[in-house]
């Protein structure tokens, strides 16, 4: 197929040409746009390692038809901050020991950002529920929860 379409990713307009129109957004991000942060594992929306924001909402990019995600802002981990200047969520993940093999990390960083946008002061149960779409095989989740709590406290201190 040689239909051309355009995606708006991290504020940049990308042209996607000569692509099979059935490709998922995950595939296009990684294989055509060189944005490798989103990871492919289950391709069923169960593991969350492919999580990105589409039109401000946290979704699994493996379940988004890339050719249908035109005309909406898409944000990946690469778009959260400039290289070398990690976000407070990313720093907290490192500080809390929540980054081990790193495979789940991009998806979890997106999920943590989305969670804190919606709920700046989440309880532990709320954190676990909002991160329930992201699997981690290394950390046992405790450090992930601690990282999110750390950010919530820091942001609370900054704004008070």
């Amino acid at each position: 197929m040689n239909e051309t379409y355009h995606l708006h990713v991290n504020g940049t307009r990308y042209e996607v040409a000569d692509a099979w129109l059935g490709e998922s957004l995950l595939y296009v991000l990684r294989e055509r746009l060189g944005l490798y942060a989103a990871k492919g594992a289950c391709e069923q929306g169960e593991c969350g390692s492919c999580s990105v924001l589409v039109d401000g909402e946290l979704v699994c990019s493996c379940l988004v038809l890339a050719a249908s995600a035109v005309d909406v802002p898409i944000t990946t981990v690469e778009g959260l901050a400039e290289p070398g200047s990690p976000t407070d969520v990313q720093r907290a993940f490192v500080d809390a020991g929540a980054v081990q093999c790193g495979f789940c990390t991009p998806g979890l960083v997106m999920a943590a950002h989305a969670l804190l946008e919606r709920n700046p002061n989440p309880t532990e149960t709320q954190i676990r529920e909002e991160l329930s779409g992201n699997l981690c095989r290394c950390t046992g989740y405790g450090r992930l929860v601690a990282a999110v709590q750390q950010v919530a406290v820091e942001r609370g201190r900054r704004s008070s």
């Binding site: 197929m1 239909e3 379409y5 099979w20 129109l21 059935g22 998922s24 391709e43 069923q44 929306g45 169960e46 969350g48 999580s51 909402e57 946290l58 979704v59 699994c60 493996c62 379940l63 988004v64 038809l65 050719a67 249908s68 035109v70 005309d71 909406v72 999920a111 989305a114 969670l115 529920e129 909002e130 329930s132 779409g133 992201n134």
Partner: protein, 286 residues
Amino acid sequence: MGVLVPSTLDDAVAALREHPDALVLAGGTDLMVEINEHVRRLRGDETVVAVGRIGELRTWSHDPATGTVRLGAGVTYAELARPPLADLLPALAEAARTVGSPQIRNAATIGGNLGTCSPAGDGLPVLTALDATVELRGPAGERTLPVRDFMTGVKRTALAPGELITAVTVPVLDGWQGYAKVGVRNAMVIAICSACLAVDTPSRSVRLALGSVAPTVIRAEEAEAFAADAVDWDAGTVDDAIATRFGELAAAASRPIDDHRASAAYRRHAVAVLARRLLRRAFPER
């Protein structure tokens, strides 16, 4: 292969008129899984009509005069799980919270749940218990069907070629309502059996819809009639024996199969437990 992304409902209907066999794509949580798993191979000449950008499909309204909520087919499970929709339709909110993950709920739509029409679809027992009606629009115009007539078999619906689900209208009942499901784990799981119980206090009636125990979601009419008669409506209570019998009648109404997730015997047992539990939640012990 073509992907069309209409921005209005009229454009979508026109696209489907031209391509009546087109795949309709909303949240992608069913269709994209099939495409990724190569269960559904897209042929070179196939068309996908992506309806996720149509604002009209993502709206909802509450009409206090008729006591109904009209949900656009594109309303997501995430929206159903939060106020204000959660306050208007609490059983649907409860069902919505059991669907997948936050990522899935942000994308998955009530229209998609209807269109896929799996007997395990979490929204469907609630829509069935509440006697929702489904609005369709196609080349022949608009029509409305009770949800029970819309669901015709396992992943089969009354949709005609070129027709699109546009909305579902759900009555707001006055009474307790809830949803429960059993799965092989505590989250992110398909129902191996599910149930919605809704009480309509003014009419002193109880509705019970069961999922994953028949080719479509079903109502357990004998159980409903029994409860209407046996509940102590003045006191708002129910005896243990009545709750148990209610569960037995729910199990008797179900026609489950053995599959790789559960046996028919277990499903029948689990349905009885869910029905009894839901009735107990609606009506405390005397």
